[in-house]
Protein backbone atom coordinates (compact mmCIF):
# COMPACT_ATOMS: atom_id res chain seq x y z
CA UNK A 1 0.00 0.00 0.00
CA UNK A 2 2.82 2.38 0.90
CA UNK A 3 4.40 1.47 -2.38
CA UNK A 4 1.35 2.81 -4.23
CA UNK A 5 1.48 6.06 -2.30
CA UNK A 6 5.15 6.47 -3.17
CA UNK A 7 4.53 5.62 -6.79
CA UNK A 8 1.76 8.17 -6.96
CA UNK A 9 4.01 10.86 -5.48
CA UNK A 10 6.76 9.89 -7.90
CA UNK A 11 4.40 10.44 -10.83
CA UNK A 12 3.00 13.69 -9.47
CA UNK A 13 6.52 15.04 -9.07
CA UNK A 14 7.23 14.21 -12.70
CA UNK A 15 4.81 17.00 -13.62
CA UNK A 16 7.23 19.57 -12.24
CA UNK A 17 10.08 18.88 -14.62
CA UNK A 18 10.92 22.55 -15.13
CA UNK A 19 11.59 22.93 -11.42
CA UNK A 20 14.21 20.14 -11.56
CA UNK A 21 16.02 21.97 -14.28
CA UNK A 22 15.88 25.25 -12.40
CA UNK A 23 17.18 23.61 -9.24
CA UNK A 24 20.27 22.43 -11.13
CA UNK A 25 20.77 25.85 -12.74
CA UNK A 26 20.40 27.73 -9.47
CA UNK A 27 22.63 25.27 -7.58
CA UNK A 28 25.30 25.52 -10.26
CA UNK A 29 25.11 29.31 -10.11
CA UNK A 30 25.62 29.08 -6.38
CA UNK A 31 28.65 26.84 -6.82
CA UNK A 32 30.16 29.24 -9.36
CA UNK A 33 29.64 32.31 -7.20
CA UNK A 34 30.96 30.51 -4.10
CA UNK A 35 34.03 29.52 -6.08
CA UNK A 36 34.83 33.19 -6.66
CA UNK A 37 33.87 34.26 -3.16
CA UNK A 38 36.14 31.69 -1.52
CA UNK A 39 38.94 32.40 -4.01
CA UNK A 40 38.80 36.03 -2.91
CA UNK A 41 38.68 35.04 0.76
CA UNK A 42 41.69 32.73 0.47
CA UNK A 43 43.56 35.41 -1.50
CA UNK A 44 42.90 37.86 1.30
CA UNK A 45 44.35 35.50 3.86
CA UNK A 46 48.07 35.18 4.50
CA UNK A 47 47.98 31.44 4.91
CA UNK A 48 46.69 28.72 2.60
CA UNK A 49 44.72 27.17 5.45
CA UNK A 50 41.74 28.97 7.01
CA UNK A 51 40.29 27.47 10.17
CA UNK A 52 41.58 24.10 9.05
CA UNK A 53 40.27 24.40 5.48
CA UNK A 54 42.27 24.55 2.27
CA UNK A 55 40.55 26.06 -0.75
CA UNK A 56 39.97 22.56 -2.14
CA UNK A 57 38.47 21.16 1.05
CA UNK A 58 36.30 24.30 1.32
CA UNK A 59 34.91 23.75 -2.18
CA UNK A 60 34.25 20.11 -1.31
CA UNK A 61 32.38 21.32 1.77
CA UNK A 62 30.29 23.81 -0.24
CA UNK A 63 29.50 21.32 -3.01
CA UNK A 64 28.45 18.58 -0.57
CA UNK A 65 26.34 21.16 1.25
CA UNK A 66 24.57 21.99 -2.03
CA UNK A 67 24.04 18.25 -2.58
CA UNK A 68 22.60 17.79 0.93
CA UNK A 69 20.35 20.75 0.25
CA UNK A 70 18.98 19.01 -2.85
CA UNK A 71 18.24 15.94 -0.75
CA UNK A 72 16.47 17.67 2.13
CA UNK A 73 14.70 20.41 0.12
CA UNK A 74 10.95 20.06 0.71
CA UNK A 75 7.68 21.73 -0.13
CA UNK A 76 5.74 19.48 2.23
CA UNK A 77 4.74 22.31 4.56
CA UNK A 78 2.89 24.05 1.74
CA UNK A 79 1.03 20.88 0.91
CA UNK A 80 -0.03 20.50 4.54
CA UNK A 81 -1.07 24.16 4.66
CA UNK A 82 -3.11 23.62 1.53
CA UNK A 83 -4.69 20.44 2.92
CA UNK A 84 -5.65 22.29 6.08
CA UNK A 85 -7.20 25.21 4.23
CA UNK A 86 -9.04 23.10 1.66
CA UNK A 87 -10.20 20.61 4.26
CA UNK A 88 -8.41 17.76 2.49
CA UNK A 89 -6.92 16.80 5.81
CA UNK A 90 -10.28 15.55 7.07
CA UNK A 91 -10.63 13.33 4.00
CA UNK A 92 -7.10 12.11 4.67
CA UNK A 93 -8.34 10.78 8.01
CA UNK A 94 -10.70 8.36 6.33
CA UNK A 95 -7.72 6.69 4.65
CA UNK A 96 -6.44 3.41 6.12
CA UNK A 97 -3.24 5.01 7.39
CA UNK A 98 -2.66 8.18 9.36
CA UNK A 99 -2.06 11.49 7.67
CA UNK A 100 1.56 11.94 8.88
CA UNK A 101 2.45 8.47 7.59
CA UNK A 102 0.81 9.31 4.29
CA UNK A 103 2.82 12.56 4.08
CA UNK A 104 6.00 10.71 4.91
CA UNK A 105 5.59 8.23 2.07
CA UNK A 106 4.57 10.84 -0.50
CA UNK A 107 7.68 12.76 0.48
CA UNK A 108 9.86 9.67 0.03
CA UNK A 109 8.24 8.98 -3.35
CA UNK A 110 8.99 12.51 -4.53
CA UNK A 111 12.51 12.26 -3.15
CA UNK A 112 13.31 9.15 -5.16
CA UNK A 113 12.60 11.08 -8.32
CA UNK A 114 14.42 14.22 -7.25
CA UNK A 115 17.41 12.11 -6.24
CA UNK A 116 17.60 10.74 -9.77
CA UNK A 117 17.13 14.02 -11.62
CA UNK A 118 18.65 16.61 -9.25
CA UNK A 119 20.97 15.02 -6.72
CA UNK A 120 22.78 12.65 -9.09
CA UNK A 121 23.44 15.41 -11.68
CA UNK A 122 24.66 17.67 -8.85
CA UNK A 123 27.01 14.93 -7.63
CA UNK A 124 28.36 14.53 -11.16
CA UNK A 125 28.80 18.29 -11.59
CA UNK A 126 30.61 18.43 -8.25
CA UNK A 127 32.92 15.55 -9.16
CA UNK A 128 33.81 16.83 -12.63
CA UNK A 129 33.94 20.60 -12.13
CA UNK A 130 34.66 21.14 -8.43
CA UNK A 131 36.70 17.92 -8.19
CA UNK A 132 35.42 17.17 -4.72
CA UNK A 133 37.25 14.60 -2.62
CA UNK A 134 35.53 11.42 -1.49
CA UNK A 135 34.02 11.01 1.99
CA UNK A 136 36.34 9.84 4.78
CA UNK A 137 33.83 7.34 6.07
CA UNK A 138 31.03 6.72 3.61
CA UNK A 139 28.93 4.49 5.88
CA UNK A 140 28.82 6.94 8.79
CA UNK A 141 28.19 9.76 6.31
CA UNK A 142 25.19 7.98 4.80
CA UNK A 143 23.73 7.22 8.23
CA UNK A 144 24.25 10.80 9.29
CA UNK A 145 22.72 12.26 6.15
CA UNK A 146 19.60 10.08 6.46
CA UNK A 147 19.18 11.14 10.09
CA UNK A 148 19.69 14.78 9.04
CA UNK A 149 17.05 14.35 6.35
CA UNK A 150 14.57 12.96 8.90
CA UNK A 151 15.30 15.72 11.44
CA UNK A 152 14.71 18.34 8.75
CA UNK A 153 11.55 16.57 7.58
CA UNK A 154 10.16 16.69 11.13
CA UNK A 155 10.81 20.42 11.28
CA UNK A 156 9.14 20.85 7.90
CA UNK A 157 6.13 18.86 9.07
CA UNK A 158 5.83 20.90 12.25
CA UNK A 159 5.97 24.09 10.18
CA UNK A 160 3.11 22.76 8.07
CA UNK A 161 1.04 21.96 11.15
CA UNK A 162 1.44 25.61 12.17
CA UNK A 163 -1.36 26.29 9.68
CA UNK A 164 -3.73 24.59 12.13
CA UNK A 165 -2.94 26.92 14.95
CA UNK A 166 -2.39 30.22 13.19
CA UNK A 167 -5.21 30.00 10.67
CA UNK A 168 -3.11 32.33 8.53
CA UNK A 169 -0.15 31.73 6.31
CA UNK A 170 2.88 29.61 7.25
CA UNK A 171 5.13 31.63 4.96
CA UNK A 172 6.67 33.77 7.71
CA UNK A 173 7.34 30.84 10.03
CA UNK A 174 8.88 28.85 7.21
CA UNK A 175 11.11 31.75 6.19
CA UNK A 176 12.22 32.36 9.78
CA UNK A 177 13.13 28.70 10.13
CA UNK A 178 15.07 28.76 6.88
CA UNK A 179 17.07 31.87 7.75
CA UNK A 180 17.90 30.77 11.29
CA UNK A 181 18.95 27.51 9.66
CA UNK A 182 21.15 29.38 7.20
CA UNK A 183 23.14 30.94 10.01
CA UNK A 184 23.25 28.04 12.44
CA UNK A 185 23.34 24.89 10.31
CA UNK A 186 26.75 25.33 8.72
CA UNK A 187 25.16 25.07 5.26
CA UNK A 188 26.59 28.40 4.02
CA UNK A 189 29.74 28.70 6.11
CA UNK A 190 31.32 25.92 8.19
CA UNK A 191 30.66 26.37 11.89
CA UNK A 192 34.45 26.13 12.33
CA UNK A 193 34.58 29.78 11.23
CA UNK A 194 32.49 30.91 14.21
CA UNK A 195 34.04 32.00 17.50
CA UNK A 196 34.06 29.05 19.91
CA UNK A 197 31.47 30.52 22.30
CA UNK A 198 28.96 31.22 19.52
CA UNK A 199 29.58 27.81 18.00
CA UNK A 200 28.68 26.17 21.32
CA UNK A 201 25.44 28.11 21.54
CA UNK A 202 24.56 27.27 17.95
CA UNK A 203 24.94 23.56 18.60
CA UNK A 204 22.13 23.70 21.12
CA UNK A 205 19.80 24.27 18.14
CA UNK A 206 18.75 21.35 15.92
CA UNK A 207 19.93 22.87 12.63
CA UNK A 208 23.59 21.90 12.89
CA UNK A 209 22.54 18.25 13.00
CA UNK A 210 21.20 18.57 9.47
CA UNK A 211 24.34 20.01 7.84
CA UNK A 212 27.26 20.43 10.23
CA UNK A 213 27.42 16.81 11.45
CA UNK A 214 27.19 14.97 8.10
CA UNK A 215 29.50 17.53 6.47
CA UNK A 216 32.10 17.21 9.24
CA UNK A 217 32.01 13.44 8.84
CA UNK A 218 32.34 13.80 5.06
CA UNK A 219 35.42 16.01 5.10
CA UNK A 220 37.00 14.06 7.94
CA UNK A 221 36.90 16.82 10.55
CA UNK A 222 35.27 14.39 12.97
CA UNK A 223 37.22 11.47 14.38
CA UNK A 224 35.45 8.10 14.53
CA UNK A 225 34.40 8.75 18.14
CA UNK A 226 33.23 12.29 17.34
CA UNK A 227 31.22 10.96 14.41
CA UNK A 228 29.46 8.43 16.63
CA UNK A 229 28.85 11.18 19.16
CA UNK A 230 27.35 13.42 16.45
CA UNK A 231 25.14 10.60 15.20
CA UNK A 232 23.93 9.88 18.73
CA UNK A 233 22.89 13.52 19.08
CA UNK A 234 21.09 13.26 15.75
CA UNK A 235 19.15 10.25 17.06
CA UNK A 236 18.29 12.16 20.24
CA UNK A 237 17.03 15.15 18.23
CA UNK A 238 15.02 12.90 15.95
CA UNK A 239 13.36 11.26 18.98
CA UNK A 240 12.57 14.65 20.46
CA UNK A 241 10.98 15.80 17.23
CA UNK A 242 9.06 12.54 16.85
CA UNK A 243 7.64 13.12 20.33
CA UNK A 244 6.72 16.76 19.63
CA UNK A 245 5.14 15.70 16.33
CA UNK A 246 3.09 13.04 18.09
CA UNK A 247 1.75 15.57 20.61
CA UNK A 248 1.14 18.27 17.98
CA UNK A 249 -0.62 15.90 15.64
CA UNK A 250 -2.92 14.62 18.39
CA UNK A 251 -3.90 18.17 19.24
CA UNK A 252 -4.61 18.86 15.58
CA UNK A 253 -6.77 15.75 15.36
CA UNK A 254 -8.76 16.90 18.36
CA UNK A 255 -9.26 20.26 16.72
CA UNK A 256 -10.60 18.64 13.57
CA UNK A 257 -13.10 16.53 15.48
CA UNK A 258 -14.23 19.43 17.62
CA UNK A 259 -15.17 21.37 14.52
CA UNK A 260 -16.91 18.30 13.23
CA UNK A 261 -14.70 17.78 10.17
Amino acid sequence: MYKEVMEQAFKTSLAYRSSFFSWIVVSSLKLISMWFVWTAIFNASNSAVLNGFTFESMMTYIAVSVIINSIIGSMLEFRIENDVKQGQIAIGMTKPFSYPVYCFFTEIGGKILSFLVITIPMILISIFFIKISMPQNILLFLISIILGFLINLSMVFLTGLWAFFSGGSIWGIRMSRIFIGEITSGSMIPLYFYPEAIKNVIQILPFSYVFHVPLSIYIGRFSFIESLNGISWQIIWLSVFAFILFIAWNRCKKKIFVYGG
Binding site: S18, S19, F21, S22, W23, V25, V26, L29, K30, I32, S33, F36, V37, T39, A40, I41, N43, A44, S45, L50, N51, S166, G168, S169, W171, G172, I173, R174, M175, S176, F179, I180, E182, I183, M188, I189, F193, Y194, P195
Partner: protein, 261 residues
Protein backbone atom coordinates in the same frame (compact mmCIF):
# COMPACT_ATOMS: atom_id res chain seq x y z
CA UNK B 1 -6.48 58.12 -11.08
CA UNK B 2 -4.98 59.32 -7.80
CA UNK B 3 -8.31 58.58 -6.19
CA UNK B 4 -8.22 54.97 -7.35
CA UNK B 5 -4.71 54.56 -5.98
CA UNK B 6 -5.79 56.07 -2.67
CA UNK B 7 -8.80 53.76 -2.39
CA UNK B 8 -6.74 50.68 -3.22
CA UNK B 9 -4.10 51.64 -0.66
CA UNK B 10 -6.83 51.98 1.96
CA UNK B 11 -8.03 48.46 1.15
CA UNK B 12 -4.47 47.16 1.38
CA UNK B 13 -3.98 48.68 4.80
CA UNK B 14 -7.27 47.21 5.99
CA UNK B 15 -6.04 43.82 4.78
CA UNK B 16 -2.80 44.14 6.78
CA UNK B 17 -4.75 45.08 9.90
CA UNK B 18 -6.92 41.99 9.45
CA UNK B 19 -4.01 39.56 9.61
CA UNK B 20 -1.96 41.19 12.32
CA UNK B 21 -0.06 38.05 13.34
CA UNK B 22 0.99 37.50 9.72
CA UNK B 23 2.11 41.11 9.61
CA UNK B 24 4.56 40.72 12.49
CA UNK B 25 5.77 37.25 11.56
CA UNK B 26 6.31 38.40 7.96
CA UNK B 27 8.33 41.42 8.97
CA UNK B 28 10.35 39.33 11.41
CA UNK B 29 11.10 36.76 8.71
CA UNK B 30 12.26 39.38 6.20
CA UNK B 31 14.37 41.18 8.81
CA UNK B 32 15.90 37.84 9.76
CA UNK B 33 16.80 37.17 6.14
CA UNK B 34 18.73 40.42 5.95
CA UNK B 35 20.35 39.96 9.34
CA UNK B 36 21.34 36.42 8.30
CA UNK B 37 23.29 37.82 5.35
CA UNK B 38 25.01 40.27 7.70
CA UNK B 39 25.90 37.55 10.19
CA UNK B 40 27.41 35.40 7.45
CA UNK B 41 29.57 38.33 6.34
CA UNK B 42 30.61 38.91 9.93
CA UNK B 43 31.71 35.29 10.25
CA UNK B 44 33.73 35.48 7.03
CA UNK B 45 35.43 38.66 8.18
CA UNK B 46 36.48 36.95 11.40
CA UNK B 47 38.99 35.07 9.27
CA UNK B 48 40.21 37.87 6.98
CA UNK B 49 40.55 41.67 7.29
CA UNK B 50 39.11 42.50 3.87
CA UNK B 51 37.94 40.92 0.63
CA UNK B 52 39.39 42.46 -2.54
CA UNK B 53 39.94 45.71 -0.67
CA UNK B 54 36.51 45.89 0.99
CA UNK B 55 36.19 45.57 4.73
CA UNK B 56 33.22 44.18 6.65
CA UNK B 57 31.39 47.48 7.10
CA UNK B 58 31.79 48.46 3.45
CA UNK B 59 30.33 45.16 2.29
CA UNK B 60 27.48 45.59 4.78
CA UNK B 61 26.94 49.13 3.52
CA UNK B 62 26.40 47.75 -0.01
CA UNK B 63 23.96 45.23 1.45
CA UNK B 64 22.04 48.04 3.17
CA UNK B 65 21.56 49.96 -0.07
CA UNK B 66 20.26 46.81 -1.76
CA UNK B 67 17.88 46.10 1.13
CA UNK B 68 16.40 49.60 0.82
CA UNK B 69 15.84 49.21 -2.94
CA UNK B 70 14.31 45.78 -2.51
CA UNK B 71 12.21 47.16 0.35
CA UNK B 72 10.63 49.75 -1.96
CA UNK B 73 10.04 47.09 -4.58
CA UNK B 74 8.64 44.69 -2.00
CA UNK B 75 6.11 47.13 -0.54
CA UNK B 76 4.94 48.96 -3.64
CA UNK B 77 5.96 47.04 -6.75
CA UNK B 78 5.92 43.33 -5.95
CA UNK B 79 2.42 42.80 -7.35
CA UNK B 80 3.87 41.49 -10.60
CA UNK B 81 6.41 38.72 -10.10
CA UNK B 82 7.08 35.35 -11.71
CA UNK B 83 5.62 33.50 -8.73
CA UNK B 84 2.46 35.59 -8.73
CA UNK B 85 1.84 35.40 -12.48
CA UNK B 86 1.32 31.64 -12.34
CA UNK B 87 -1.53 32.19 -9.88
CA UNK B 88 -2.98 35.00 -11.99
CA UNK B 89 -3.19 32.56 -14.90
CA UNK B 90 -4.71 29.80 -12.85
CA UNK B 91 -7.51 31.67 -11.14
CA UNK B 92 -8.31 33.75 -14.18
CA UNK B 93 -7.65 37.01 -12.40
CA UNK B 94 -5.49 38.27 -15.23
CA UNK B 95 -8.44 38.08 -17.63
CA UNK B 96 -10.41 40.26 -15.29
CA UNK B 97 -7.58 42.73 -14.79
CA UNK B 98 -7.31 43.25 -18.55
CA UNK B 99 -10.97 44.26 -18.78
CA UNK B 100 -10.74 47.14 -16.31
CA UNK B 101 -10.35 50.65 -17.76
CA UNK B 102 -7.04 51.07 -15.97
CA UNK B 103 -3.56 50.08 -17.03
CA UNK B 104 -3.24 46.37 -16.04
CA UNK B 105 0.33 46.76 -14.79
CA UNK B 106 -0.51 49.76 -12.61
CA UNK B 107 -3.60 47.94 -11.41
CA UNK B 108 -1.59 44.91 -10.29
CA UNK B 109 0.93 47.13 -8.54
CA UNK B 110 -1.53 49.19 -6.51
CA UNK B 111 -3.77 46.22 -5.75
CA UNK B 112 -1.05 44.12 -4.17
CA UNK B 113 0.93 46.09 -1.62
CA UNK B 114 3.02 43.80 0.55
CA UNK B 115 3.64 44.77 4.15
CA UNK B 116 6.48 42.24 4.54
CA UNK B 117 8.68 44.67 2.59
CA UNK B 118 8.64 46.99 5.60
CA UNK B 119 11.06 44.45 7.10
CA UNK B 120 13.46 44.97 4.17
CA UNK B 121 13.13 48.69 4.54
CA UNK B 122 13.70 48.80 8.30
CA UNK B 123 16.66 46.44 8.23
CA UNK B 124 18.10 48.41 5.30
CA UNK B 125 17.97 51.65 7.27
CA UNK B 126 19.40 49.97 10.35
CA UNK B 127 22.23 48.33 8.40
CA UNK B 128 23.06 51.60 6.60
CA UNK B 129 23.03 53.59 9.84
CA UNK B 130 25.33 51.20 11.69
CA UNK B 131 27.72 50.64 8.80
CA UNK B 132 28.04 54.32 7.87
CA UNK B 133 29.04 55.12 11.46
CA UNK B 134 31.86 52.61 11.15
CA UNK B 135 33.23 53.81 7.82
CA UNK B 136 32.83 57.54 8.43
CA UNK B 137 30.08 58.26 5.95
CA UNK B 138 28.48 61.45 7.27
CA UNK B 139 24.95 62.01 6.02
CA UNK B 140 24.51 65.53 4.68
CA UNK B 141 21.44 66.73 2.81
CA UNK B 142 23.18 66.26 -0.53
CA UNK B 143 24.32 62.72 0.37
CA UNK B 144 20.83 61.76 1.47
CA UNK B 145 19.45 63.05 -1.84
CA UNK B 146 22.03 61.01 -3.72
CA UNK B 147 21.12 57.95 -1.64
CA UNK B 148 17.45 58.54 -2.42
CA UNK B 149 18.12 58.70 -6.16
CA UNK B 150 20.29 55.56 -5.99
CA UNK B 151 17.78 53.58 -3.95
CA UNK B 152 14.86 54.58 -6.18
CA UNK B 153 16.91 53.65 -9.26
CA UNK B 154 17.77 50.32 -7.65
CA UNK B 155 14.10 49.65 -6.95
CA UNK B 156 13.29 50.50 -10.59
CA UNK B 157 16.04 48.19 -11.85
CA UNK B 158 14.92 45.28 -9.67
CA UNK B 159 11.28 45.82 -10.65
CA UNK B 160 12.19 45.96 -14.34
CA UNK B 161 14.17 42.72 -14.29
CA UNK B 162 11.40 41.04 -12.29
CA UNK B 163 8.90 42.36 -14.84
CA UNK B 164 10.86 40.99 -17.79
CA UNK B 165 11.16 37.59 -16.10
CA UNK B 166 7.45 37.66 -15.35
CA UNK B 167 6.57 38.56 -18.92
CA UNK B 168 8.59 35.57 -20.17
CA UNK B 169 5.92 33.61 -18.30
CA UNK B 170 3.37 34.65 -20.95
CA UNK B 171 5.07 32.12 -23.19
CA UNK B 172 6.39 29.53 -20.76
CA UNK B 173 3.30 29.55 -18.44
CA UNK B 174 5.33 27.92 -15.66
CA UNK B 175 7.24 30.67 -13.93
CA UNK B 176 8.27 29.30 -10.55
CA UNK B 177 11.79 28.52 -11.68
CA UNK B 178 12.41 32.13 -12.69
CA UNK B 179 11.75 33.29 -9.16
CA UNK B 180 14.46 30.95 -7.87
CA UNK B 181 16.79 32.40 -10.46
CA UNK B 182 15.89 35.97 -9.48
CA UNK B 183 16.78 35.39 -5.82
CA UNK B 184 19.92 33.45 -6.69
CA UNK B 185 21.12 36.47 -8.67
CA UNK B 186 20.50 38.88 -5.80
CA UNK B 187 22.55 36.53 -3.59
CA UNK B 188 25.44 36.84 -6.01
CA UNK B 189 25.49 40.65 -5.98
CA UNK B 190 25.50 40.73 -2.18
CA UNK B 191 29.25 40.34 -2.57
CA UNK B 192 31.38 43.16 -4.05
CA UNK B 193 31.22 42.76 -7.82
CA UNK B 194 34.98 43.03 -8.25
CA UNK B 195 35.61 39.64 -6.65
CA UNK B 196 34.09 37.97 -9.72
CA UNK B 197 35.73 37.37 -13.06
CA UNK B 198 35.17 39.79 -15.99
CA UNK B 199 32.48 37.60 -17.58
CA UNK B 200 30.28 37.61 -14.49
CA UNK B 201 30.95 41.31 -13.93
CA UNK B 202 29.89 41.99 -17.51
CA UNK B 203 26.65 40.07 -17.05
CA UNK B 204 25.73 41.91 -13.87
CA UNK B 205 26.70 45.30 -15.31
CA UNK B 206 25.35 45.25 -18.85
CA UNK B 207 22.93 42.33 -19.20
CA UNK B 208 21.18 41.78 -15.87
CA UNK B 209 22.45 44.95 -14.20
CA UNK B 210 22.01 43.90 -10.58
CA UNK B 211 25.42 45.42 -9.91
CA UNK B 212 23.48 48.69 -9.82
CA UNK B 213 21.54 47.45 -6.80
CA UNK B 214 24.46 47.41 -4.41
CA UNK B 215 28.03 47.63 -5.67
CA UNK B 216 27.90 50.60 -8.06
CA UNK B 217 25.59 52.92 -6.10
CA UNK B 218 27.66 52.31 -2.95
CA UNK B 219 30.70 53.70 -4.77
CA UNK B 220 29.17 57.18 -4.45
CA UNK B 221 29.90 56.99 -0.74
CA UNK B 222 32.84 54.59 -0.32
CA UNK B 223 35.84 53.33 -2.28
CA UNK B 224 38.57 55.03 -4.28
CA UNK B 225 36.37 56.36 -7.06
CA UNK B 226 37.48 53.67 -9.50
CA UNK B 227 33.90 52.76 -10.42
CA UNK B 228 32.40 56.24 -10.14
CA UNK B 229 31.50 56.39 -13.84
CA UNK B 230 29.22 53.41 -13.32
CA UNK B 231 27.69 54.96 -10.20
CA UNK B 232 26.63 58.03 -12.20
CA UNK B 233 25.03 55.71 -14.76
CA UNK B 234 22.68 54.15 -12.18
CA UNK B 235 19.63 56.40 -12.81
CA UNK B 236 20.14 56.17 -16.58
CA UNK B 237 20.26 52.38 -16.43
CA UNK B 238 17.08 52.49 -14.37
CA UNK B 239 15.20 54.64 -16.88
CA UNK B 240 16.37 52.57 -19.84
CA UNK B 241 15.38 49.33 -18.15
CA UNK B 242 11.96 50.68 -17.21
CA UNK B 243 11.26 51.54 -20.84
CA UNK B 244 12.52 48.20 -22.15
CA UNK B 245 10.73 46.10 -19.53
CA UNK B 246 7.43 47.95 -19.96
CA UNK B 247 7.52 47.40 -23.73
CA UNK B 248 8.34 43.74 -23.20
CA UNK B 249 5.53 43.35 -20.68
CA UNK B 250 3.05 44.91 -23.14
CA UNK B 251 4.34 42.63 -25.87
CA UNK B 252 3.84 39.60 -23.62
CA UNK B 253 0.37 40.70 -22.59
CA UNK B 254 -0.59 41.19 -26.22
CA UNK B 255 0.60 37.69 -26.96
CA UNK B 256 -1.48 36.41 -24.06
CA UNK B 257 -4.68 38.13 -25.23
CA UNK B 258 -4.17 37.19 -28.86
CA UNK B 259 -4.18 33.45 -28.12
CA UNK B 260 -7.83 33.85 -27.28
CA UNK B 261 -8.18 34.71 -23.62
Amino acid sequence: MLNIIKEYYKCNIARFAEYRADFFIGITAITLSNVAAMVLFWVIFQAIPNINGWNFWEVVFMLGIMDLSIGIWHVFLSGVTPWKLERLFQNGELDRIILYPINPLLHLFIKNLDDDGIGDFLSGILILAVSSMNINVVWSISKISILLIMVLSGAAIFTSIALIMTAIGFWTIRTQWMSDLLWAMTDIVQFPLNIYNPAIRFVFTFMIPFGFLSFYPAQMFIGSGEYLTYSYMTPIVAIMLMLISYRFWKFGLKNYTSVGH
